[in-house]
């Protein structure tokens, strides 16, 4: 047995024992998992926009301080789903509770960064670029990751952003252009059923312009890649079928599109979707419950679909928000901008369960939680353990990776 194949064997048997505990995957699929090359791995990022109230997501259910500071908003124990003696999910997160039970969800607590900024836009930029405002921010962490692995998607887009928002800063790169698509149906150029017209617009877009106008060159490269990406996608999404029912909402539809693209064999390695509305300054309870239900149900359906497509060893999911919210509720039955909060990683390859403690509710900083885990430590795990790339240049600093992937998934 060569060194390489013994490693494969050991890896697959270690993973196999985990599966016996949690059920779900056939050993043959795990064998395939062990043979995955890094370029076939996929990360799906879900961005929760507006600042998710972490304390009402992963709830310190028996904590006196929590109840005292949130007389209106504290969630009753009877209205929650147990995680541990001390912690519980919001009852709308049934999807996450099921994933946790199936051994497919890591809850990373107390994630943030030093000297927290409470502006949505600035804090989001910090998460996206790993840089502060006074630094020269020109690209995002995923953009830099894509540059390291560029050229491995065989002509497919290396990353895709789904949604109608502007493109996330995280995906910006000087070299790699990431397409944004609202829906597959809309992602085609009218008139291109006519071959002559299609040829003309592609040629017109492909012609390089001279130096001197950066903006024009940016538009030219973007136009050229948009037209070729639309051609590519429209011809590739034919083989998908699924028995999984997705919830009828924006996030569910986006994740179903992601599953379609993965199922059709696209070589794209990063998918990026967003869920907006977490800025709950007033009348929080109903709004927050609805968003969490959308999140939990959609992620659960997606991962079921990924299982069904026999792709679960390739797909990891990461969920974050720009900040958590203030511990104490405000007078409008809402919460103001805060700091640290939980992140989630999901999929068959993550170490399921709680990672890190809930920050203290009594030792606050300006009324906000103190983080103990830097978000870049989570990124470091994704970059090193999942994509086998070098984290330091991407994160612009040294960060110890959080231990969030199963040993069988690490390479």
């Amino acid at each position: 047995m060569s060194h390489f194949s013994r490693r494969n064997f050991l890896r697959s048997s270690a993973a196999g024992s985990a599966v016996l505990t949690f059920g779900g995957l056939a050993p043959s699929a795990l064998q395939a998992a062990a043979e995955q090359s890094k370029s076939e791995r996929i990360l799906v990022v879900i961005e929760l926009q507006g600042g998710n109230d972490g304390l009402n997501t992963v709830i310190p259910i028996g904590d006196e301080t929590y109840r005292r500071l949130r007389p209106k908003l504290a969630i009753a124990k009877s209205d929650s789903l147990e995680i541990s003696d001390a912690l519980a999910f919001h009852s709308s997160l049934r999807g996450f509770a099921d994933l946790l039970e199936a051994g497919r969800l890591a809850i990373l607590q107390g994630v943030g960064y030093p000297d927290p900024n409470r502006s949505h836009f600035e804090s989001m930029d910090i998460w996206h670029t790993c840089q502060r405002k006074n630094e020269n921010r020109i690209d995002g962490w995923l953009g830099r990751l894509l540059e390291q692995s560029a050229g491995e998607a065989g002509g497919d887009p290396t990353a895709l952003h789904l949604g109608h928002d502007k493109q996330p800063f995280a995906l910006m790169s000087r070299k790699v252009r990431v397409p944004s698509i609202r829906s597959l149906e809309q992602f085609r150029l009218h008139g291109t059923e006519d071959a002559q017209f299609r040829k003309a617009v592609q040629e017109l877009a492909d012609a390089r312009r001279g130096e001197g106008n950066d903006l024009l060159n940016f538009v030219q490269a973007s136009t050229s890649s948009a037209i070729s990406a639309s051609e590519k996608l429209s011809s590739s999404v034919k083989s998908y079928s699924s028995s999984v029912t997705y919830p009828k909402n924006g996030l569910g539809e986006q994740l179903q599109t992601v599953a379609k693209l993965i199922g059709s064999g696209l070589k794209t390695s990063v998918y990026y979707v967003t869920l907006n509305g977490f800025d709950t300054h007033s009348q929080q309870p109903d709004a927050h419950a609805g968003l969490l239900r959308q999140l939990g149900d959609s992620v659960k359906a997606f991962l079921d679909d990924i299982d069904h497509l026999k792709q679960s060893d390739r797909v990891a999911m990461m969920c974050f928000s720009e900040f958590g919210r203030r511990v104490e509720e405000n007078a409008s039955a809402g919460t103001d901008h805060g700091t640290a909060g939980p992140m989630f990683m999901a999929g068959a390859t993550v170490k399921s369960g709680l990672i890190g403690q809930l920050p203290s509710l009594s030792n606050l900083q300006d009324g906000d939680l103190r983080h103990h885990t830097d978000f870049r430590q989570v990124y470091a795990a994704v970059i090193q353990n999942w994509f086998q790339c070098e984290a330091e240049p991407i994160l612009k600093g040294k960060f110890a990776a959080v231990d969030v992937f199963r040993d069988s998934a690490k390479v």
Binding site: H120, S180, H190, F197, V201, L204, T223, A331, D336
Partner: protein
């Protein structure tokens, strides 16, 4: 690329010369920026005047009484439908038919600045009131506008009563970060203190009210000033900051002059000073911008990414066009600039953020949809007849004509030949194919 401009040169009055002449193309630049676009005839007329005279006409008001009356009756009809999207269509219609383009463009600027979305305020009447308010102050006194805005925004914001025991920080943060100063020009303590000033503000039966029992009348320290301030006083302190006129001037330059590079504090200084000295009057600053050296220089011409509204309304206005306003508003929403539907309280970021593969395909599709919509008319007729009436008939003439009215960056010769070849290769429909192909080239995205 970080060019350093000499602020004195930048804002001195533009004197046409051989290198940067005043002609049809320069006039087209002015109309695209200080409005949406102009027809060949309008451009020829403007080129015969001085730039300064044309800018004065763009700034002159008020709107003709008959136009206002028509708009009022249309907006009332839109509201009566109960569908705010109809109001969005009304505004799109107003944009492509107004005799005062700059007023409309400036209203759009303020809409992006004091961004309130119909997504959150479903009441069309409130949205219309705010829209009319922004239009009435568009060229005027920014501080005065603010006093109204403060109250209106409170009306539409969702805190019911801002209680002194737990003030809601959201509005205070918006004022400092997004409306007046910009991130980095205040501290978290300033926000908490300003939030205390707004305690006692409440909405009762849809009306703004001051509830003195809920007002925190203690001392507050905002931006180094201490006193028992109320909400209006708090806003006044914020507006008196040095960074307030700088913030507005920077936004105006990015909106009207160039996307890149970001203007420096030094470049902005003369405009900020002018704003401060005039008590924050907008009109003189606009006049200064549109008659400046920088505005007509190669650093500005063609150096902005067209917003979806500029692209669509510009296409219509440059060819004397009109269309189904509801469809148009929907298309612009799809492309990321829904009128009355800004994506967040920060408004639209503009510049490169307009561009991604979806929006590029969408912008191209919009051109085809617009020219093939049965409701679209050019000079009350078809595009073909409109051009024929101006003796523009063969592919080469058509491309040249479209370039003059639609393009800020010249169409490269190779592209011109390629489009001409496409048009010549087919007997019918060549105009639609040609215009569509021409408007898909990268140059068309810049304005």
């Amino acid at each position: 690329m970080n060019e350093i401009f000499d602020p004195d040169w930048a804002w001195s009055e533009f004197q046409p010369e051989t290198e940067t002449p005043w002609n049809i193309r320069t006039a087209a630049h002015l109309f695209r920026r200080a409005g949406f676009g102009a027809t060949q005839n309008q451009l020829t007329t403007a080129a015969a005047k001085t730039p300064s005279a044309v800018v004065d006409e763009l700034l002159a008001g008020p709107e003709p009484e008959s136009f206002r009356a028509e708009m009022t009756s249309l907006s009332n009809a839109a509201i009566a439908t109960g569908n705010v999207k109809q109001l969005s269509a009304w505004w799109a219609y107003r944009m492509f038919s107004t005799p005062m383009q700059l007023l409309e463009k400036m209203t759009l600027f303020w809409h992006g600045h004091f961004a309130t979305s119909a997504e959150k305020v479903a009441d069309g009447r409130l949205m219309l009131t705010q829209n009319e308010l922004l239009r009435s102050f568009a060229f005027g006194d920014y501080n005065y506008c603010w006093r109204f805005h403060a109250i209106r925004n409170a009306r539409v914001s969702r805190f019911r009563t801002n209680r002194k025991s737990h003030p809601n920080e959201n509005y205070a943060r918006e004022i400092m970060e997004l409306f007046c100063l910009g991130e980095g020009n205040y501290t978290e303590t300033d926000i908490r203190e300003l939030a205390r000033c707004f305690t006692g503000w409440e909405i009762r039966r849809e009306e703004f009210r001051f509830n003195r029992y809920q007002h925190d009348d203690g001392k507050k320290t905002i931006l180094h000033q201490t006193g028992d301030f109320g909400g209006e006083e708090g806003v006044k302190i914020v507006l008196a900051q040095k960074s307030a006129p700088e913030f507005i001037a920077t936004k105006l330059v990015r909106f009207f002059v160039m996307d890149e590079p970001a203007p420096t504090v030094e470049l902005i200084a003369p405009l900020a000073l002018e704003l401060r000295n005039s008590g924050m009057m907008i009109q003189p600053v606009l006049r200064r911008i549109f008659t400046s050296n920088l505005f007509y220089s190669p650093h500005a011409v063609g150096r902005k990414v067209r917003s979806p509204v500029e692209l669509a309304v510009g296409l219509l206005r440059s060819l004397q066009g009109s269309t189904n306003a509801f469809d148009l508003a929907e298309e612009m929403l799809t492309l990321g600039q829904g009128l009355l539907y800004p994506p967040s309280v920060k408004g639209w970021d503009g510049g490169r953020t307009w561009i991604n593969s979806s929006t590029l395909l969408g912008r191209s599709n919009l051109v085809r949809t617009l020219i093939t919509n049965d409701k679209t008319r050019f000079g009350k007729t078809t595009l073909k007849q409109y051009l024929a009436a101006q003796k523009v008939t063969n592919p080469r003439e058509i491309i040249d004509y479209l370039e003059t009215v639609l393009f800020a960056v010249p169409v490269p010769e190779a592209a011109r030949e390629r489009v001409e070849a496409l048009m010549k290769s087919r007997s019918d429909g060549s105009l639609i194919e040609g215009l569509h192909a021409l408007c898909t080239i990268p140059e068309f995205q810049l304005g």
